[in-house]
Amino acid sequence: MEPWFKPVADHSLLVCFSDTHNADAHARVIALDKAIAASPPVGMIETVPALVNLLVRFDVTLTDHVAVETHLHDLLRHVTTEKNAGQVRQVQVCYDADFAPDLDAVAEATGMSPDAVIAAHLAGQYDVLMYGFSPGYAYLSGIPEDIQIPRKPTPVRDVPAGSVIIAGPQCLVTTLTMPTGWSIIGRSPTPILTRDPARPFLFDVGDRVVFQRIDLATFTRAQREVAHV
């Protein structure tokens, strides 16, 4: 399908590859995002890659929708998608009962043992689809089918930062204390908001993520190290 373009207010252009979520459309989003980073149109402020489309924000005093669209058309002629092009990022998870209030419920809903749920979660192949909701909230695709469960009917308040939460095919490591309707199956000490000015966020959209199981002692130690950064 040919991509289509939609103007957004005076300052942005949305490039759409599909109406429905699919891996091919997302790969094209990532590929175009990279091509734009290598050769940005005049006056561009930023791009925002999402599931099936990408937003280009620009300075309206320097360019307009037509000029940006022309530039993107040129780039799209040469864009090719690559499989597994992103970096692999390691994220530690502790599945200790205190950190995983919904693990038993997920086990019950899927007819598996809690250990089997953990094994399935660790076996998943995760891709960073996009960020959203709040700073550092990266949506990961790749929850294996046998542990995919729907969102809870009502969100739970004050879920701590670092919670590893799942809903449907997606997984997320929270960065703030926030309400969520997703199932909480673990806690990670790995900072997504890194506090490193050169690289403030752990993932780029398109990266791959591997979860690594740690015990409570390792979690506590890792968290102490982070606090001292």
Partner: protein, 333 residues
């Protein structure tokens, strides 16, 4: 030049530290934040002769009271029609005044407007995140939400008597309906929903904060089931939830969302929108993308011209008295 310090005697909810904002991080889930009314914020700094984007304070209708505990500093207040109390006088917003140790300044909501801005002739010390002191209210990242009892420090505080007095408020803002570019998901709405969106009156509700403003009005039915893949949203996106209620996303918006967007308010008209209050009514009107670009460029030009005008110092007291005497003399002749 030295430091001036203030105690926050009272801060209502949603009184925050803001600078020009942190654009460029939307891909990481970070909206730009910054002032809700960027024009008023920029005007406060221009009237003091500050560099644009200097750190200041955004005051909500909850109000703010500051007690100066040391030093002296000139400050500017702009924004909605707030009331400024200082040394027993009640001033309107859009003023520049000098505050000294022992003085108290109270800023509270007036007849109209939802946000006011305080800028200081000096540097307001504030925590920075990703190179900006702008507060993202939901997370508290950046300079932060002001709390009653906290201390504010202005370094390199200066007294600029030549700048005190009233600030001429901007007169170039368009009136009439708020201009939108329709879409990007207008195709998800039933036949006449878009037509009603563009003709009927909407009102601001109480559900209004830095993230967005929920509206009341005609129900905007979606055509068919509501399920679109989450996609980027911007300041000004008008998203419609499953119950047909539109919400305009603002300074601290989420960066992606799965509700269909019927239209997007153009940037120059957001300053007008944010100063409305619960119950205030208005209409939307559609413009083409090309018209939106034209409007934004015209606005940028008028704004630059206006900020240049108010940035000119009014002169020392002597100079001003002299000028007034001359004018007076002319009138008598």
């Amino acid at each position: 030049m030295s430091d001036a310090t203030f105690t926050v005697s009272f801060a209502g909810p949603l009184v925050t530290v803001q600078d020009a904002g942190r654009p460029g991080h939307m891909r990481y889930g970070v909206s730009a934040s910054g002032p809700m009314d960027r024009l008023a914020f920029d005007a406060a700094h221009a009237a003091l002769g500050n560099p644009p984007g200097t750190t200041g304070i955004e005051v909500s209708l909850g109000g703010l009271a500051l007690q100066c505990t040391s030093g002296a500093v000139t400050l500017a207040v702009t924004g909605g029609a707030f009331v400024v109390e200082h040394r027993g006088q009640k001033l309107g917003a859009w003023c520049v005044l000098t505050v000294e140790k022992g003085d108290r300044v109270i800023i509270r909501g007036g007849k109209t407007g939802s946000w006011a801005y305080v800028a200081f002739a000096g540097t307001l010390s504030a925590e920075s995140w990703l190179g900006s002191t702008a507060t993202h209210a939901a997370s508290g990242f950046g300079g932060g939400v002001l709390r009653t009892g906290q201390t504010l420090r202005i370094t390199s505080a200066s007294v600029r008597e030549e700048r005190t007095g009233e600030i001429a408020p901007p007169e170039f803002l368009a009136d009439g309906p708020l201009r939108v570019v329709t879409g990007p998901q207008d195709q998800h709405f039933s036949g006449d929903a878009l037509a009603r969106f563009l003709t009927e009156k909407f009102a601001v509700t109480d559900a209004y904060d830095r993230m967005g403003m929920r509206l009341r009005g005609s129900e905007l039915e979606l055509a068919g089931a509501l399920s679109i893949p989450s996609e980027p949203v911007v300041r000004g996106s008008v998203q419609v939830s499953g119950d047909g209620v539109p919400t305009v996303l603002l300074a601290d918006h989420q960066t992606t969302g799965g509700y269909p967007k019927i239209a997007t308010v153009i940037a120059p008209d957001i300053e007008r929108l944010v100063q409305l209050r619960s119950g205030d009514g208005f209409r939307f009107a559609a413009v083409s993308a090309a018209e939106a670009v034209g409007a934004a460029r015209h606005y940028a030009m008028c704004k630059a011209e206006y900020l240049d005008q108010i940035a000119v110092p009014r002169g020392t007291l002597d100079q001003r008295l002299m000028r007034e005497n001359l004018i007076h003399a002319c009138v008598l002749d």
